[in-house]
Amino acid sequence: MEINMTFLGQMISFAILVWFTTKFIWPQLNGAIEERQKKVAEGLAAAERARAELKDADAKVAVEIKQARLQATEIIDKAQQQGNQILEKARAEATNEINRLKAQAQDEIASMAQRAREQLREQVGALAVRGAEKIVQREIDPAAHKALLDQLAAEI
């Protein structure tokens, strides 16, 4: 257990070692470590930010969807209303047409009845004349009695 020159040598070696570590090893490695720590921290912060953004976007999407649904409902309502209106209008037009057709038919019927009545009246007039002929047993001049006969026919 003697202390000798070795001790000085070891001291010098130690000093060199410490100097080397301080100068060449520590700064580089520590720099890398610290930079990585910063990167990791930034990455985590970015992830956090992205998560928050995603949440925001989700909320926005929900609002949009709600609005779209509302709009769709409105459109459907409007379409239904419009459909009803069209139906109503068509119904009214159809009714009008029916009424018109009915009126026309009634007119026709009326005119046909009129014509039939007139024919009937003429035929009745003729029949009456013939009957009268038979009754009178003589021929009445239709031309001479035309005015009379017409009057008769009109009276029937």
């Binding site: 020159m5 070795t6 070696s13 410490v18 090893i25 520590n30």
Partner: protein, 279 residues
């Protein structure tokens, strides 16, 4: 020393406790003995540490680290965490110091795990019987008091340097004379200068002594136990227990190796931290 009559194990151990010594002075004064084995092994290990860490430091990336870089970073962050917990200040010089101490002492301690006869066997094999008889080589630099004292005295200088840097030359000197006993009137202050100074000297000197003796004692003792166990393997009867004991002691010694390196580093940090404190 080897003339004792027991021979055998005693001689074996005494042979193993001799250092490879070189003396440069003409009169062979003992102080000028240089223990070449301690110096060479510690220097090689220090250089290995430098090279290893430097290679990774050179191409250190802040991106995904290689496994090697991760290992190096693990060591650095481990040391840095310890420093951070104990020492509150600029760590740019303290952590490298702690890292150097930890890795160097750890590597030197780890030499204890090499077989005690490895060096002897190598000399034997490559240089022959005759040379081996006169050649001494001890593998564990920290089992040499010179290494541990060298380290702890260097640490002492660093600690004092930190004290002076933190308090200024005047403040450091003043504290040396006025702490730990404080007084208010000047006469009492003057009276207390001597006990204060003595106490501070004792306190300061006890630090390197305790650091050096603790590490030296642990490693020397560990080495001695390895040698005693190696003595078991001389006979075939005790060979198997020898192997068992050797393995058990080696496994236990892994703990001591790391623990002693850690304690040396930790105490250095604590000493620096206290040196920077104002009393």
């Amino acid at each position: 020393m080897a003339s004792e009559p027991q021979g055998g194990l005693t001689e074996y151990i005494q042979h193993h406790l001799n250092h490879m010594t070189v003396n440069f002075s003409a009169d062979h004064f003992w102080f000028w003995n240089l223990r070449a084995d301690s110096i060479i092994i510690s220097f090689v290990l220090g250089a290995a540490f430098c090279l290893w860490f430097w290679l990774f430091a050179r191409k250190a990336t802040s991106g995904v680290p290689s496994k090697g870089q991760a290992l190096v970073e693990l060591a650095i962050e481990f040391v840095d965490t310890q420093v951070k917990d104990t020492f509150h200040g600029d760590r740019r010089t303290v952590t490298p110091l702690a890292l150097s101490i930890f890795m160097w002492v750890f590597l030197m301690n780890a030499m204890d795990l090499l077989p005690v006869d490895l060096a002897g066997w190598l000399v034997h094999t490559f240089a022959g019987d005759e040379v081996a008889h006169h050649t001494y080589f001890r593998m564990v630099p920290t089992a040499d008091i010179n290494t541990t004292v060298g380290l702890s005295v260097a640490v002492l200088f660093i600690v004092i340097g930190h004290g002076i840097k933190a308090k200024g030359g005047f403040g450091f000197g003043k504290e040396l004379l006025t702490a730990p006993f404080h007084a208010n009137n000047p006469i009492a202050k003057l009276v207390l200068v001597i006990p204060n100074f003595l106490l501070n000297v004792v306190e300061t000197l006890s630090k390197p002594v305790s650091l050096a003796m603790r590490l030296f004692g642990n490693m020397y003792g560990g080495e001695l136990v390895f040698m005693l166990i190696a003595g078991l393997m001389v006979s075939w009867i005790s060979f198997v227990p020898g192997v068992v004991f050797n393995t058990a002691w080696a496994i236990f010694h892994i703990l001591i190796i790391a623990l002693q390196a850690f304690i040396f580093m930790m105490l250095t940090i604590v000493y620096i931290a206290t040196a920077r404190e104002h009393h």
